[in-house]
Amino acid sequence: MTIVRGVVAGAVGYVLGAALIMAIRAASGAAAWEVESVTAGAWLFALTGWLLGVGVWRYWARPWFGRPADTYTTTGWRRYFDFDTDHKVIGVQYLITFLTMFFMAGLFAMLMRYELMGVGEDILNSDQYNSIMSLHGTMMVFVAVAATVGAFGNYVLPIMIGADDMAYPKLNALSFWLVPPVLVALTASFLLGGYDTGWTGYAPLSVKNDVGGLFFNLAFFSLGLSSIVGALNIIVTVITMRARGMTWFRLPIFVWSIFVTAILSLIFTQFVGLAMLLVILDRTAGTVFFDPASGGQPLLYQNVFWFYSHPAVYIMILPAFGITLEMVSHFSRKPLFAYRWAVGGLLGIMGMSSVVWAHHMFTSGMAEALRKPFLASTELISIPTGFIFLSALGTLWLGRIRYTVPMLFALGVLFNFLIGGLTGVFLADVPVDIQLQDTYFVVAHFHYVILGGGIFALFGAIYYWFPKMTGRMMNNRLGKVHFWWMMVGFNATFLPMFILGLQGMNRRIADYTPGLESANRAVSMGGFFLGTSFVIFLANFIWSWVKGPPAPDNPWGARTLEWQIPSPPPHENFEIPPIVLADPYGYGEPGSVHADLGGNGRSESLEEGVQA
């Protein structure tokens, strides 16, 4: 019902916006209808209409005009399809939406690997391949940027800091409901023939391509709005909503990682919004930002784009670091080793992430003098990144390691990111990068970082927090099968891609020279193996959600706050606000208690701890 209202209001918005733009165009002597100009302008009205219709008007904006807000009465499963302000509902909304997007983009990857099995064009022509490749990249980037932060930053973070919700619950709902328009724009782009620029959308190609390209710009722009709003909410929540006694250095490392990620998101997302906007204006309003014939500058796009998109790599990977360290501590039954250095590593990465972007542009024709400083800054960022490994290794050492499914994924992140990180050192070296830039070496490298790191951590987090979110356990054996299947498939796919890059295969091509065929066939086989691993996951995920055995409050015996309350948590999370006494990593420390939950009394082990 809510969605219907949103769609109708969005359509009304589009029509009103289109009428306005067409009137302006007619008044200035141009033909009234031109699909791109009209749509670009009307998009803003459609977006506003959608948001108003989907709930902003009824639950939020009516009081601004002296009317009472509607009372929110939705219950049960319908809440997931409504403008619900409970952070736990929004977390699930994010998770399901972006998992769906992940599997769609994964299917596109399967198509690409099928096409690349042999020389020549088999099932896709170059044009179709470019579209599928571009959509795959765009959607996967969206997933990597928003899935973990949206799902677990929303669901778990407030509970971990002892809060009853996010600081701005309505803003939180708004940031989620900005996502469906992103899906609409991507679908529209696909139906209108797609776009051929990859997710990077370099101008001037992105200014000249077909109408599908415009919808890519609108999708990225809208997702950016959602990210900025969500990031602001997380930052305020962590600063102001921490329970009594939850000092900065008692925060779970996962909370730190999301907090730092949100700061990056808040600062840098506007730059990709700007990059998209400049392209939209060049396409529709006759501006010439990227048209050299009129004094424009194509490299401007790359600078603005990478000024966001390098920090975005850390937006994708820092939550993975947080999840990994969290599990390594809880499942090694040891305090997180060198906690402050790990936090320092996160902050160090944040601080340096804005001064490395031009390593994506070493061969772009930028000033030669900039090569050395960007080479140096990029190599130096490996120092704070190393702190994550310092902390993980020190925690594992002498631990009582429990090989649960989430722990396996955390270890997978460490292994995969090690390869992703080390190959990054190669790519930062300019003489090497000149050869490897825009080859499959780069493709392999960033898949090791984003898929091997970010997405592995996302799946680890799903296995870890699923019992809390659903009140049911996932099947352990299927989880282990999924992990090993995915881990083997992942490495079988992307290790040979490094070789492909070294052999001279450039990226974003549907066809290649014959010498590259055998390695490509191997990569495709690995890719199909990787792809099928998710069937196991999906079966387990869906079956367990419906029929899995009931989960205890604290199936992992972990110490953070979310495990001290029922599974799934009640609406207000805690009966009374908890009081935090120490950090959550006091494993093996006699008498150490993370928090006093007062009269809650649901966690027997905690009561024991308090009495002792």
Binding site: S332, L375, I383, R400, I401, F426
Partner: protein, 260 residues
């Protein structure tokens, strides 16, 4: 399990563990050395790069190989230390927690020093030294204007005014300066066998230099090709032509025949 107080058990375990520490460290160090030596031998035995045919290719390949030598012990360190802990320190049925080791001054200090030194070393060499080498010979014997256009390459030999399309002819052991431009979108001028790559940006002339060191052509070596490396639309994958390197006299004859 978990939150309860396991003071007695964990303290006894703790003591035994710290007694075992020196022995463990020596074992791990030994395994690490052994694995690293084996890994370095393997890395050195593998031919990582394809056909290399220019001065620049040597610089780039040397840098890659040096980075492999430096990255290998880092990789093996994490794998061996982590792997050792994963095998030896697995949970064995009791509910005890591990020893509450929160920090170790010696380990952290060593880590900091080693990673910082490694990063700085990598910046200096092969980073800065490689870049300096690439720029060391700025005088060109031959200047070629490269024009990229969707989806073909056109060449103009600046001195003789000869214009060609398709195969790119070059003399061996001569310093060549490419002046690269594009008439439409961004392309990238890449010759895999030479390890050179520079984008062709509309409205801008970009340059790159190379000294071919080996004879050869696309017919014998797939890497001897000018390949567009920046996505430029539907014809991107097939935007490549061969590169042929010949002796100077053969090149002169070819140039004269082509109208120079």
């Amino acid at each position: 399990m978990g939150n309860g107080d396991h003071s007695t058990t964990s303290q006894t375990k703790d003591r035994t563990h710290s007694d075992r520490q020196p022995g463990r460290l020596a074992t791990v160090a030994f395994i690490w050395l052994l694995v690293t030596v084996l890994a370095e031998i393997t890395v050195a035995a593998i031919e990582w790069q394809p056909f290399a045919a220019s001065r620049e290719a040597t610089i780039s390949d040397d840098a890659f190989n040096l980075l492999m030598v430096l990255a290998t012990p880092v990789f093996t360190f994490v794998i061996v230390v982590g792997g050792y802990a994963l095998l030896r320190d697995r949970h064995r049925g009791d509910d005890a927690d591990g020893p509450p080791i929160r920090t170790s001054r010696a380990f952290i200090a060593t880590w900091l020093v080693v990673t910082t030194v490694l990063s700085v070393v990598v910046i200096i060499t092969p980073g800065f030294t490689g870049l300096d080498e690439l720029r060391a010979e700025p005088e060109a014997d031959l200047v070629i204007d490269v024009r990229a256009e969707r989806w073909s390459w056109a060449y103009r030999y600046a001195d003789s005014g000869v214009e060609t399309q398709g195969n790119l002819m070059l003399p061996i052991n001569r310093r060549v300066l490419f002046r690269i431009s594009s008439t439409d979108v961004i392309h990238s001028f890449w010759i895999p066998a030479f390890r050179i790559k520079k984008d062709a940006v509309p409205g801008q002339i970009t340059t790159t230099m190379v000294t071919p060191r080996k004879l050869g052509s696309f017919d014998n070596q797939e890497e001897m090709r000018v390949q567009c490396a920046e996505l430029c639309g539907v014809g991107h994958a097939r935007m490549f032509t061969g590169v042929t390197v010949v002796e100077q006299d053969e090149f002169d004859a070819w140039l004269a025949a082509a109208g120079g």
